[in-house]
Amino acid sequence: MTDFDQDTLTKSKATAAAACGWNFIVLMSRQGKIRLSEFFSSYTESQKKRILRDIAADVLPRQAKMCNIIEKGEYKFVYRRYASLYFIVGAPVEMNELIVLEQIHLFVEALDGYFNSVCELDLVFSLHKSLMILFEMFIGGMLCESNRREVLQQIVEAEELVEQMTKPGEDTSSQLDDGLSFQEQFQLGRKPGARGPRGNR
């Protein structure tokens, strides 16, 4: 083997090992509405727009029996569908696809634990909570804590902290966490209390 080949071989191995974090995560509804998006690597606005467009074009039309991986050159989409919501992760080519799928699931489980059976509406109206959970679990796109209980404990502690430190009557960030009333839920066609997870696919 020539020097040249040796060089590239080493390089490719190096990138393979370094690739352990997501480039981005996007939550998109079946209708193509974005519920959450966070880009961990730096992308320009136009690159982001392109990615979001690609997701809508490539992922949404796929059938359930197809695989959950779409190659996009330097990165790939790895996605998972929960009821009508798609969780799409942009991962480097070298990253293990199956483990990305499970990392997504881990995130969903954490959300589920926090919201007690999460649904799309929770994510929409308590976006800041979802983001805090995301940042608690994934730092710079890399899985930081896989222990769901510990993640949730951190979040709860932080919430307590906010409440403890505010004088009674002062605003708290939890005031923003004003989910839908029972009636509203009902209007949206959801049976109150019956928010069971729809499972994967």
């Binding site: 197809m66 190659e71 330097e74 890399m142 896989s146 222990n147």
Partner: protein, 995 residues
Amino acid sequence: MSTQARGLNNFISDLRNAKSREEESNRVEVELAKIRKKCNPGDAKLAADGSNPSLSSYQRKKYVWKLAYIHVLGYEVDFGHAEVLALVRSKKYSEKTVGYVALSLLLRGSDPVVSSIVETMKTDLTMAPDTSGKKKKGSVKNDAVQCLALCSLANISGLELIQAMHMEVQHILVSKTSTEQVKKKSALCLLRLTRTSPNLISGREFAPHIALLLQDQHLGVVTSVMSLLNGLASQQTEAYESLIPNAVHVLSLLVLKKECAREYLYYRTPSPWLQIKLLKFLQLYPNAVEGHDIGMGGDEHVNQLVNVVLKILTETDVSDSINKSNADHAILFEAVNLIVLWGTTCPVALREGAMKLLGKFISVREPNIRYLGLLTMAKLAQIEGSVVGAKQHQATVLISLKDADISVRRRALDLLFVICDTDNADRIVDELVAHLVVADASIREEMVLKIAILAEKYATDLRWYVDTILKLISISGDYVSDSIWHRVVQIVTNHPQGELQSYAAATLFVAVSPRRCHETTVRVAAYMLGEFGFLIAERPGMSGEEQFYVLHQHWFNVDAKTKAILISSFAKLSNLYEECRPLVAPVFARSRNSSDMEVQQRCVEYSSMREAFSPEAVEDLLREMPPFEDKRRSALEMRLLETEGENSAAVAKASTPSEVEQQRALLSLQMLSNPPMEEDMAPIDEEEDEQDTVDSSNNQQHPDGDNEAVLENGSSKPVVAGIPKELIPAMRKAFSNLCTSPSGVLFENSLLQVGVKHEYVGAQGRISVFFGNLHSSPLHNFKVKVDQPDHLRTQMQGTQDVLDDGESDTPGCTVATKTQAKLLILVEVTAPFDDAPSMRITFQTEQGERHDYPLRLPLVATCFMESVNLDPGAFMQRWKSLEGPDRECQEVMKLPPASEIDEAYMDRVANVIINGMKFGRCQGVDPTPWTVSGAATFRTGAKDLNGNNINVGCLVRVEANPKANAFRVTTRTLHPLCSKAIKNVSLVSIKLAAA
């Protein structure tokens, strides 16, 4: 609950209810305008940091949350940064937490405003944990704030922040007082920093710290530290090699002993995340198991490692839970990747086990597993000796090629590409070509490229390669890039051995004959006929003129690039064939004013060439191109590299030459190094000296534009002497003449004379061929190979050993000087045909020069005619009954201006039709001297169902138009091939009768 809280909720509800993307973005615009006004009201004075001091804490948080919300919906948010920073600076945790989350979302480290926050973040980072012992608010608070800062820092990164804070982050990571929360976050934060600015950390100093951290009881910390280690080790691999035993230790605890805290079991699998990271780390060291044998001792940790991998391979089970199955298979695939990287140093049992598993995976229904199975098998198959195992699954892979899922199809294509070799190339390439017809656009270009590479790599017969590429062009010509057809040209040019060049020319002649064909076909055909058209010019229906016509019919439908190629070919044609000149001249004249530079230039140059240069120089200029330089990487491989990147399996495969390719290269090399070759070429290359003056314009005919290569290779010419071009016109004349006369000379040069005598009775013929040595010394290894087409039953006998029966080791005979070798051929025709059998003569002179002359025997359809005398009525009746496109064949031929049609000419035409072609003239139907009509029967030896010989009735009509100086030949028979053959022979004979 304040009313404003509902503000955010209302906003969200509004967006949710938006019916379209437009409505949503309008609502966002309104909100953005409102917030912009709140942040910068215009009349109020702003604080020093640019934030609006009149906003209450609650308002500020609310607006920032709204901005964050708008941002995560994918809209650009380019203001409000001052408010975010104000929140970060706040002393209140509730504000800080909002500020940091928004900071992570809205800002990147490269933003200039970030520098104003450096000090705040630094203070937050280094906030000393409360060590007073009382685990109360304080310690939690510090811890929490530290975490916030670390997390934000990791998310936004940025050079300035890194410079300012990486020391602190390192310190926090290794500090004994840091809590687990802080440790794991600082590890990942540090990883992010080193990724943005590599070599922040010296490996030798830091490795011991990592080793210590790997022993942490908290699995979350270990996982994060492993991420960091992977990042660091990929930058300085050697510095962390000492940590392999530590990694193996952690891995074996998880895999072999299943030692893992309960919270870190994921669907009963011990932390798959950590296992994967450990395996990825080990992949950095492909030599870790070199020289290891299972159960043969060696390093303890190597033993352990092999056991771990073996256990992963053998004990991964299918599980009902999709999550468990995914996690387990993720580990399994990572273990296989490790085996792939170990390559040949890996114990064979592991490699075979992995291949067997993958074979199972590529046939399962679960699409992800199948996808990854295909992907990984392509990697594994590249290890020496593993491809055999992969080839067994060829049929399964072909099924996946037809999957509905594009991702799976891509992988299947890739794997097929990798396992393709000489044994299965036929099958795989055929399957791929068949699939190309139905393949969708997204994958076509890739398929075309790969098929082209495979066909070239594994063609045992290069004619198959040429056919394959032609198929590609006709199926999906738009995806056949220039580099693909350039490659065909290169290959054909570089392989003068055998009949490849004439085959390519003839095949392309046929391909370009229809009115409609793909433009790429026209390009290849133009180039090939320009270069090698002379090799087929003696074949009936493929004369120089006809070559011109089939090419020129596309002239008005092609773009300037193709026209430029056509012009060069026309120039070559007109140089070779006198009769093409009047055809080509008007084309050049018309295009002298073309708006396309290249077309214009070529036309002007070619048409004034004869005045500007000596005839020898012109000859030289229009000579066929010298062989192309063989590059290390062909243009196709480069293209593959571009699309797939350096580490794709396909690229590695494409750049390794196949056995067949090596043989071909070797053959060419042998011929090149054959010393007699140079002498051989000498007589033809007499004008070599003048080459310099004309080379530059010669080069532009290379489709590649690869000028330097041509110049360098100017001297290396085809290695076996063929028929010099100067002889071609004379040869064609001799051939045409012999078609209608019983004996004559077929070929003659200074060494050899070939004479032919032939006579026919009904469907049978007797052809004697004489090979006379005109040279002063004997000709050795003299061999003649006669093509035996299906439509002729042939028997041959001749001077001993003169016949080449197709086995390469026949030595051939020696023809002494001034003597003859003889060959007698007895034939019986069994079916109509329209070409002439080829006869290839090869020999070597005393001096060792090798000669190879492809000739054609004048054995054409009209030889087997028997004249029929019909009265005018019967003739007209038959003539009318044979109307129809399948039966009639017609062509108009314009004579060169020099000749004139007079009655004497018409007599000669009638003579050749009656005596040469053995037609019975039907005087009564020719009212004027300007027509000749005749009838004959084509006799074959084939029997019909009743046991009678099958014969074909043939009618011919030649009409002259002296004013237009043109002839029109119409033939009508029951068989299209007969019509065509008679028309062709008539045309050449008429032309010949002119003199």
